[in-house]
Symmetry: none
Subunit: 232 residues, 4 copies
DNA sequence: GTGGTCTAGACCACT
DNA sequence: GTGGTCTAGACCACG
């Protein structure tokens, strides 16, 4: 915090980075829906920037895979097929599994502190019943988990994957688990970290990811689920 | 909030404004103490900016009166005399009294909502006993009050005055009221707004300001207190 | 006065402060009109200074609120909406009301002497019929009034507000009162101070401010006027 | 292949994407070395494009983390610390481990065919002793491995990580293994896939990654290695 | 292409 | 030596 710690460098991010954040946010919350075209004139006006930095920001999202570029047609929000949903969760599993391993062998204390706070947010969101707040807290929990790994590259990968996860959830809201279950699953993850039970933690994170895939698509992903579980 | 509201213009403040905020904060929390010289080379390095924008930011604070300029010597954090303390609170009284009047005749509903939230923060801070948090909440309450007036000029004046108030408090910590009393005084202010009792509100805000002056300096300010009270 | 030969310290104010004064003057007299962009290259050439100090001076005016900064676009003279006019006069009322109170309980003798001189200037200006001279004298009267309060912070606030007042007047010249009325209103203020009638003084200063608002905007502000008057 | 005469859609990728490829290549081969500044005027001239698309391409690489942006200074090739090297290999391990799992449970036949071809390239490069060719073949092998997973997101992550791996190797050439060892390690990976021994494959890929980290930094990472191995 | 913004480096004045 | 001042040059954004 700057509030009590004295003088810190002023945080100055480039305009393109700020715009990219705005766009990522808009995609995440479904304000820009899959398939939507991003008209640069309109967007530039809405964001209060000129087209140059806007185009640069959009290229960032193209690189991330959140936007799709059609030459001489424009840029569109990427549409997710069933196959993508599976890919996303499998990739998340890879990233978060590695993060879990690093957390268990790294600064577990810091992780516990930060994740306990994140869980608290999730509990509060669950109490209000606000689905968006719950999703926000869910996402924040996982972002914190990966952040605790201390591996910047895993963090960057997770950022994009979590936005894509939100895109899935926004479209198919019925697959989102009940509040109680959501809190419970995350609490179990935190418990495993507390107890230092790495094997248990890895099993839980795997279930956490693959159960969702199952919930969304009951054919095929089941196979993935079974075989992947077999590895332990 | 950007979180749920779709696309908003990206907030892009000038570097000088950001630096000014940092410096104001540092002065407010006493990290830059009254009388300290602001070496531009060091500061620029600490803040990660070059001397140009830093100098521009410092000129902003000179204009505000938080810094004092000595030609060819440098810039120093303004030192507050006893006289200044009285001036600050009298000026705050002028600003906040006007704000109170505007609030009572303006959108009282919005004011009630925002101030209730601010009071809640103050209560929580009081519970923890964290003096800095209490001061933060105290300051935020008054900033909100003036903000509810809808008068930008009063807001700008209040900003500087509140920073100066913090400088006073940082130096003379013993004059700060007990947690219970602090909460109580603010709750009374809120009550008066709730009940629409303007006369009562003005009396309270006046006591709130002048009591502090009395607490700091028991001679002279008493006279101010008495005569000013006589106006109603 | 310095002219009688006594050696006084050279008033070596910083270059930025001198430039800021020049700019403030130019804005006040409408030489730099609301909405005008301040091209730094041109201005630097005209003022015979380099861009560095000029930029520092301009940041002072940004802090005062006389200039508006658009990132990567430049600095512009602030444009005043009808809302701003009301805000300015309400803020002036807050500052001058507090000043009046301090004057009545402070060194009333000095105030009488200085304000009598100021009134004399106003009378002379009124006789010539020079509107600019009248505005200058009007402004000087109020600056003196606040200065007599002995409160530096009120003085600083008043300085900016008076410049903004001039901006209003420059734009809408037709609202400025007749010479006779102008002199009369100020004479009444002085009379109330002479007689030590604080209540009367406060009523007069309030009318003095709010009548102008009414004159500029006859719809809505009337309501403000009425309700505000009700406070006494 | 396209050479047999069938008409295929022209791969009309956007200009920004093509430029990004060029830049990525230049960074990978060390033509643009870590710490180098990318002057946009010069680069635009060298690449025969205008600054617009070039800037868009560079923003893609910023997003990937290959470039670092310093506001109002320019863009620089990211410099890799020892910490980064470890992060890169740990992240690669996460991605390639997941890919291995998917390959073993997916179309193993196609993987075998493609990886056998890749290994052959590596053998030939080893025979010539050309270090660049060896690195190219090494990289291609792993790219193929991840590609066989059929997970686009893992592929995208791997792309950046492999470029970063090359940056490491370009800087510290002495850590690169002997030709014979390099071929041997990859042949063992292929063997494990042929035999369908998933457990063995995962052990091998883990050693493949972490041995390199050990080779680069012999202190500390050893601990990482040991504990990570403990997971199986 | 123009102009705003920031950085870097040099010179001068004061302590 | 340090701060005050100015110039040169590059990046950044807008039209």
């Amino acid at each position: 915090m700057n509030s009590h710690g004295g003088l810190e460098p002023v945080p100055r991010r480039s305009t393109a980075a700020l715009i990219a954040d705005q766009l990522r946010s808009a995609i995440m919350y479904g304000h820009l829906a899959p398939g939507d075209q991003l008209g640069e004139t309109d967007l530039a006006a809405q964001l209060g920037v000129s087209r140059g930095p806007l185009r640069e920001a959009m290229q960032r999202l193209v690189q991330e895979g959140l936007l799709r570029s059609e030459r001489h047609r424009g840029l569109f929000v990427r549409e997710l097929e069933a196959e993508d949903v599976r890919d996303i969760y499998v990739a998340r599993l890879a990233v978060e599994r590695a993060s879990c391993e690093l957390v268990m062998r790294g600064n577990r204390g810091e992780a516990l502190a930060r994740l306990t706070a994140s869980l608290e947010e999730l509990v509060q969101a669950a109490e209000t019943g606000d689905r968006t707040a719950m999703s926000d807290a869910d996402q924040a929990f996982h972002q914190t988990l990966v952040s605790c790994s201390g591996n910047r590259r895993l963090e960057r990968m997770a950022q994009t994957l979590l936005v894509e996860t939100r895109m899935c959830l926004t479209v198919m809201q019925d697959v989102y688990p009940e509040a109680a279950e959501l809190v419970d699953e995350h609490r179990k993850l935190l418990d495993a970290i507390t107890e230092g039970d790495e094997k248990q933690l890895l099993n839980l994170i795997e279930s956490h990811m693959l159960d969702t895939v199952d919930r969304i698509n009951t054919t095929g992903p089941a196979a993935i689920r079974r075989s992947t579980s077999a590895q332990n």
